[in-house]
């Protein structure tokens, strides 16, 4: 009976065409084109200030940026004008580099609400049964397509997978979290929501080797489930544990080179120097 609109699946495609992004009058991304299929892992690498985080935030529809008419296609639908929550509802997910604290809102409560909102079967929202007194509660639970205990099982299996203590679920979201805890919390949300396309913004910074391995395992699990993955990173640390299908080098708001996994290794050896010099010479 449950209709999971958002379930990650094969054959989906996220296509970004000539994405230009401005912060005020300043152009930060100067025309990015990229195409990610279900089950693919793309790494976007670049030095500080190259526009990597802007790219992630703009895909999610951050109101801080304006986007010049362009395309972000999810399948056949251009989502560039959709508000953030609707993009999420269509299966886009962003793991934030430094997610903000929300006092008094528990991790579990956030997981439940976002699961319910992103896995809402079309039409159910409008059902207002005269027999259900509390329409707010009724609507949300029916919409989730899972019973409370099924949902809890799902959450518990993901916390165990990520070696997260279950008491973590009762803490307020990102409130007093260490850097590593924040990353784990983002990873946990990704695994519970199993989006069609997930963007990981610097998931590897601030993690020790063990935590890094766990994060990488999480990403691989998502990939196996059919999610398309974009990993944004400065270093290629996490790429030792995940072999990306494609690597793109982002410098000065442009993708200056794309290649296979060995491009990341090349950057590890040589750094971004040659691209930055190129950039300067263009200017």
């Amino acid at each position: 009976m449950s209709i999971k609109r958002q379930k990650s699946g094969k054959g989906e495609k996220l296509t970004i065409t000539n994405l230009r992004v401005f912060a005020g009058k300043k152009e930060i991304l100067k025309g990015i084109s990229l195409s990610v299929r279900s089950g693919e892992v793309h790494a976007i690498m670049g030095p500080n200030g190259s526009g990597k985080s802007t790219f992630a935030q703009a895909l999610m529809g951050c109101p801080q940026y304006t986007v010049r008419k362009t395309g972000i296609w999810l399948g056949k639908r251009n989502i560039v004008d959709l508000p953030t929550d609707e993009r999420a509802g269509l299966g886009l997910f962003l793991a934030f580099q430094s997610p903000v604290a929300i006092a008094g809102v528990g991790v579990l409560s956030l997981l439940r609400t976002s699961y319910q909102e992103t896995h809402r079967a079309a039409g159910v929202d409008k059902v207002r049964s005269p027999f259900i007194q509390n329409t707010l509660l009724a609507r949300r639970w029916r919409a989730a397509g899972l019973t409370v205990s099924e949902f809890m099982d799902k959450v518990k299996s993901r916390t165990d997978f990520l070696h997260i203590d279950r008491s973590f679920l009762e803490r307020a979201v990102n409130d007093g979290f260490s850097g590593g805890e924040k990353k784990k919390s983002e990873m946990l949300q990704a695994l519970v929501l199993s989006p069609k396309f997930a963007i990981f913004d610097e998931i590897d910074t601030g993690l020790d080797v063990d935590a890094l391995k766990v994060a990488a395992a999480g990403i691989l699990k998502l990939q196996k489930g059919g999610s398309g993955i974009i990993i944004i990173t400065h270093y290629q640390r996490i790429l030792r544990y995940i072999k990306p299908d494609f690597v793109h080098v982002l410098v000065g708001g442009r993708i200056v080179e794309s290649g296979k996994a060995d491009l990341a290794k090349q950057i590890e050896k040589e750094g971004y120097g040659k691209y930055i010099n190129n950039e300067k010479s263009i200017i």
């Binding site: 999610m60 529809g61 929550d85 934030f96 008094g104 809102v105 956030l110 707010l136």
Partner: protein, 463 residues
């Protein structure tokens, strides 16, 4: 302008006037004598009422009560003795209020009680079993009028000793015209685990305009008293002025929880104070969601060594509302401690004010006070002010005051939206998270209703 303030509720609802006795409009000695006469009160109470009336007439309004400056207090009825409430009909309530009840999903019987349509909430059976449980322990729990009849000596000993009629204009008003309220007496070392709720007292006048409550907790006892409810309470009378007096004796603990959600035609001017003796603990949990204008500052007078007072205050002000709430802690003995947490949310042009006092005079050695005062402003048209007063004369007092004012952050909204949560829902999550430290102290069913109400208000379904 003067008249408009106390006009009937703006939605045009008019409760059918059915009453046994109704004093004339306005307030004078004749009215006060009539009230006392109708209740067959002892002479001392009649005198106290008349003295209080004289004080009420002399005293000026508090200087910050600007909203009341134009009010004509002569144009209202100060005493109406109603007949059977049950005669009134559910269908006569304003749509807005019925709608809210439907949305938060409370049962019909409860709705009728809350809306004042019926006095009888629980069945007679439940009521009797609670009363017999209390009687076994020697606990007295009555409405104030019955208390005065049955236990005149106890009442005479304590009435007006914590909040004297000369305390402020509205305390004087209440003392001169009070009716209803609760009288609670807990004998030494008796602990009542079940929270006492006003609606356990049936067949009494409920939620009057000028309620008077007196709670006496003898040495080493414990009681939790709960008043109000989170669903909107419709009232036809626009001026409400209650007084609550609490005496916490040595080693006793009293918790008093309030959820105030009057309809937005109501002016709610309340004096609440507790006197706390040696090693006693007083806890106020005070949530204000409704009314047009509320002035309420639950207070603790810490008169015995190591007495403690905790005050948790919550205020929500929406369109056309001003919540002037806060807390007062007066340390009058060594090693006393107070802890104040105030959370306020203003939205849609609403206004919240925190007005607080911490006083530690010389002699209150090694006293400690900790005040946290957080305001959340939801939009540009809303407002929040903080008026904290600290009078610290003791040299070794430990006083901390933290205050924050925040606006709903774009960053927080974006984060929650990126999880598929709509803007309105994200806002209500942020607000519910913000008030959580206070709400979690309320009895569970109230806390749940409170969260749902905030959700309803913010997601735009109501008000």
């Amino acid at each position: 302008m003067k008249k408009a303030l106390f006009d009937n509720y703006t939605l045009g609802f008019r409760k059918p006037e059915k009453y046994v006795f109704k004093a004339k409009k306005g307030l004078d000695e004749e009215v006060v004598k009539q009230i006392s006469g109708h209740k067959n009160e002892p002479d001392w109470m009649r005198h106290l009422r008349l003295q209080s009336l004289a004080i009420y007439r002399k005293r000026a309004l508090p200087p910050w009560a600007l909203e009341l400056g134009d009010a004509s207090f002569d144009d209202i009825y100060y005493y109406v003795k109603p007949i059977d409430h049950k005669a009134d009909s559910w269908s006569q309530l304003p749509d807005e209020i019925r709608d809210t009840y439907d949305k938060i999903g409370i049962p019909q019987a409860e709705k009728k009680f809350l809306s004042g349509v019926s006095v009888q909430y629980e069945s007679e059976v439940v009521y009797k079993s609670i009363q017999s449980m209390l009687a076994k322990k020697g606990v007295i729990f009555l409405d104030m009028d019955s208390g005065l009849k049955e236990y005149p000596d106890i009442i005479r000993q304590y009435f007006g000793t914590v909040v004297s009629p000369s305390d402020n204009k509205f305390a004087a008003l209440n003392t001169s015209v009070w009716s209803g309220g609760s009288f609670v007496y807990v004998p030494p070392r008796v602990s009542i685990e079940l929270p006492l709720q006003a609606y356990f007292r049936i067949n009494s006048e409920r939620m009057g305009q000028f309620e008077r409550t007196l709670i006496i907790a003898e040495e080493g006892s414990f009681v939790h008293y709960v008043e109000g409810c989170s669903a909107p309470m419709y009232s036809t009378s626009s001026l409400h002025s209650a007084v609550v007096e609490i005496i916490v004796k040595k080693g006793a603990r009293v918790r008093y929880s309030t959820i105030q959600n009057w309809s937005t035609n109501v002016y709610n001017l309340v004096t609440k104070r507790a006197r706390v003796e040696e090693e006693g603990v007083m806890e106020w949990v005070d949530a204000n969601l409704g009314s047009r204008f509320t002035m309420k500052y639950p207070s603790v007078y810490l008169v015995g060594r190591k007495a403690r007072g905790d005050i948790l205050s919550l205020a929500y002000a929406g369109r056309g509302q001003h919540q002037d709430a806060g807390a007062k802690a007066v340390h009058l003995a060594p090693e006393t401690t107070s802890h104040i947490i105030s959370k306020s949310v203003s939205r849609n042009g609403g206004r919240t004010s925190y007005r607080g006092l911490v006083a530690i005079p010389r002699g209150a050695t090694a006293a400690k006070s900790h005040v946290v005062c957080d305001a959340l402003i939801m939009d540009r048209s809303s407002r929040s002010d903080t008026y904290p007063i600290m009078r610290i004369e003791a040299h070794d007092a430990g006083v901390e005051h933290e205050a924050t004012v925040s606006k709903i952050g774009e960053e927080q909204l974006f984060y929650l939206k990126s999880r598929g949560i709509s803007g309105a829902q994200a806002q209500s999550m942020i607000v519910n998270g913000f008030i959580e430290p206070v709400v979690k102290e309320l009895p569970l069913e109230y806390a749940v209703e409170m969260n749902r109400l905030i959700q309803l208000y913010i997601e735009g379904s109501v008000g």
